[in-house]
Amino acid sequence: MSGSEPVASVATRFVELEGRGMRHSLLLAALALLVAFGLYAAHYMEQSGHHVTGMSNQVVWGLPHVFAVFLIIAASGALNVASMASVFGQAGYKPLARLSVLVAVSLLVGGLFVLVLDLGRPDRLVVALTHYNFNSIFAWNIVLYSGFVLVALFYLWTLMEGRLQKHSRFVGGLALFWRLMLTTGTGCIFGFLVARPLYHVAIMAPLFISLSLSFGLASFMLIFFAIQRFRGSRCETTMQERLAKLLSLLVWTAFCLMFAQYVFAYFSTTQGDVARFVLLSGDVYTVVFWFGQVGIGTLVPLMLLHRCKRRSNVSVVMVSAAMVVAGGFAQLYVLILAGQALPLRLFPDKVIVESSFFDGAVATYVPSVPELGLGIGGIAFALFCICTGVKVLRLLPDVRSGAGLA
C-alpha cells in the first residue's frame, strides 16, 4: 500500500459482531461477574480500611496501581494501529483502526476504574474532578485521561461517519499527540518524585512511552485475535505478520530503554545501589525482574517473533503477545513496588540503627486478594466495554470484504 494513500478512501466494510448471541451473552455475564467481584473488593477495602490490603505506610501503592498503570499506558499504545493508519498513512492498518480506538478507550476506562476505586476516599471523585492543583503532575494526568477519552471518541466518530472522514487524519494526529502526552505524564508521576531514587531519573518519561507502545500493541493483538477466533475467522497472514513485526520492534525498543535504565544506573555512583537492589539483591523483585520482565516479557517473545515463519503462526504470535503483557505486569510490579521497598535516603553519610517506622529497612509487601480482585475487575470492565462496543457498533472489518482478514 502506498504510504500517501488518503485514509478517508475506505473500501473496507465494517460490521457489528455477527450472531452468536448466547456465547456473547455468556461472555458478558462472566465479565460482569468479575466486574462485580472487583466492585465488592473495592467496597470491602473502603469499608474496612486499607489495612485489609498488603499496602501500608511503608508501601503505599500496591497491586491496584500495577494494574491501573498497565491499563492506562496500554490504552495509549493500543491506539498504535489507528495512528499508523490515520497519521502515518499505512492504509494496511485501516481495517483495524476503529477497533484500535475502542480498545484504547476501554483499557483507559478499566485503568481508571482501578485507580479511582483504590482511593482512600473513592466517594470524593467529584472533589478530584473539581479541585485542581495545576502544580501537580497528577492533576494534569486527570486532565489528560479525561481528555484522552473525549479525543479518542471524537476520533472514532470521524472514522465511522462518512462526512467526517476527511478530518480523521487531523483528529488522529491530535489523538497521537494526546496519547504521547498521556504516557509522558504518567511517566512523570514517577519521574518527579525526588525522594525515590528508582523513579527520579530522566529516562522515566521515554521509558513509559516505549512501554506503552509495546504493552498496548500486545494487548490489542490479543483482543483482536480473540475476537477473530470468536467470529470463527482469522487474521490474514500479511496483517498478522505486520502486527507481529511491529510488536517485535517495539519490544526491542522497550528492552533497549530498560537496559539503559539499569545498566547505566549500575555503574553510576548515585544510582548504583538502586540498580544492584533490583538486579541482584532485591529477593522477589530480582526474581520477577529476571524471570518475568526480562525472560517472559522480553527475550522469549523476541526469539519467538524473530523468524518470519513463526510470525505466520497465529498461536505463536498470540503466545508472544500474551508474554509481552505478562512481562509488562512484571515490569510495573518491579518498578512500582521495588521503588517503594527501597528505604529512603534520609542520612546519606549515616546508617540508621534504630527506628520505630522501619527507616533504613527494605519494606515488605504481600499483595492481598481484594487488591487482586480490584485489578481483575478493572481488566474485566475494559473487556466488557470492548465486548459491548463491538456488538453494538460497526467496528469490525467484514470477513467477506477480505480486508486483511480471511
Binding site: 473502603e46 474496612s48 480500611g49 486499607h50 489495612h51 501500608s56 505506610n57 511503608q58 503505599v60 501503592w61 482511593l119 482512600g120 476516599r121 473513592p122 470524593r124 471523585l125 472533589v127 478530584a128 479541585h131 485542581y132 492543583n133 502544580n135 501537580s136 503532575i137 497528577f138 492533576a139 486527570i142 508521576i189 518527579f192 518524585l193 525526588v194 525522594a195 525515590r196 517503594q340 529512603l344 535516603r345 534520609l346 542520612f347 546519606p348 553519610d349 549515616k350 546508617v351 540508621i352 540503627v353 534504630e354 527506628s355 520505630s356 517506622f357 522501619f358 527507616d359 519494606a363 515488605t364
Partner: protein, 258 residues
C-alpha cells in the same frame, strides 16, 4: 457629702490598688509556675487566634538539639500520640506516626545520634506540589497541613515526601480529639499542633512540651522570622542542619548535632 466623697474616693482607690496588686500577683504566679517547673517559655508574640487570618509575618519552626536528645527516650512521640489520639495497631507497618525517634550512626566516626523525625514543614514542600486536589497545603506561616475535606486518599504526597513523614489512616478511628480531627482513608502528618498555636495562648506543640517536661529541652518551637525569638537566637548561635539539604526544600525544622 464631701467627706463621704473623699471616703468613697479612698475606698475606690484602695480597691483599685488591691485589684491591681492582685492582678500583678496573679500574672507573676502564672509566669513563675512554669519557670520554676523548669519550663522554657518561648515568646509566641505573633501567635494569633482562630479568628485572625494567618499571615507570612511569622514562619513557625522547630530547633532540635540532638546532643540533648537521649536514645531510648520517646517522650515527644508519646506526647504527640496522646495529644492527637494516635493509637498503635496490631500491624506496626500501618500505624500512623506523626513523629518518630530515629537513631543513626556515622559511617566514619561511629558516633551515634538520636533524633525525632517528623514533617519538616518545608518552604517548598514536595507533598504540596504533587497533591492533585490541593488538599495538601502550606499556610502562610509555613505550617504544612492536610485539608481532610478535600483529601481523596491517593497517597501521592506520601510517595513524594522525602522524610516519610505522612501516614495514611488504614482503619476506623475512635476516641478522636475534637481539636485534631482525623479520617479513615485520608493522609495526615504533624501539624505543629496548629490548634494550640491558633488559640493564641502561647502553648507549645505537644512534643516540645513533653520534651521539656522530661527535662531534656532538646526541642525549641518558635517564630523563625522574629529575630528576638528563642528559636531565632538558637539558630543564629548554632550551625544547624537540614535533613536532605541537597533537595533544597528550606525546611522549617533544623537540627544541631547531626
Amino acid at each position: 457629702m464631701t467627706k463621704a466623697k473623699h471616703g468613697d474616693t479612698r475606698t475606690a482607690q484602695t480597691l483599685s490598688d488591691v485589684s491591681r496588686r492582685g492582678f500583678f500577683r496573679r500574672v507573676a504566679a502564672v509566669a513563675t509556675v512554669p519557670l520554676t517547673a523548669g519550663t522554657m517559655v518561648v515568646a509566641l508574640t505573633r501567635a494569633g487566634n482562630a479568628d485572625e487570618a494567618v499571615t507570612d509575618a511569622s514562619r513557625w519552626g522547630l530547633f532540635i538539639d540532638t546532643t540533648k536528645c537521649a536514645t531510648g527516650c520517646d517522650a515527644c512521640v508519646r506526647g504527640c500520640n496522646e495529644e492527637h489520639g494516635i493509637e498503635s495497631s496490631a500491624r506496626p507497618e500501618i500505624d500512623a506516626q506523626w513523629i518518630r525517634k530515629v537513631v543513626v550512626e556515622d559511617t566514619q566516626s561511629k558516633h551515634v545520634t538520636s533524633l525525632p523525625l517528623m514533617c519538616q514543614h518545608c518552604a517548598d514542600p514536595p507533598c504540596v506540589e504533587v497533591c492533585p486536589t490541593g488538599a495538601s497545603f502550606k499556610r502562610a506561616d509555613g505550617i504544612v497541613l492536610v485539608d481532610k475535606h478535600t483529601c481523596i486518599g491517593c497517597r501521592y504526597c506520601m510517595m513524594a515526601c522525602p522524610y516519610k513523614a505522612r501516614s495514611f489512616v488504614h482503619e476506623s478511628l475512635s476516641n478522636q480529639k475534637s481539636y485534631s480531627p482525623r479520617g479513615k482513608g485520608t493522609v495526615e502528618g504533624c501539624t505543629l499542633c496548629v490548634h494550640r498555636l491558633d488559640e493564641g495562648q502561647g502553648r507549645q506543640p505537644a512534643c516540645v512540651e513533653a520534651c521539656l517536661s522530661g527535662g531534656r529541652a532538646a526541642m525549641v518551637f518558635g517564630d523563625l522570622h522574629d529575630p528576638d525569638s528563642d528559636i531565632a537566637l538558637m539558630m543564629a548561635a548554632n550551625q544547624t542542619t537540614e535533613i536532605r539539604a541537597d533537595l533544597d526544600l528550606d525546611t522549617g525544622v533544623r537540627y544541631v548535632g547531626i
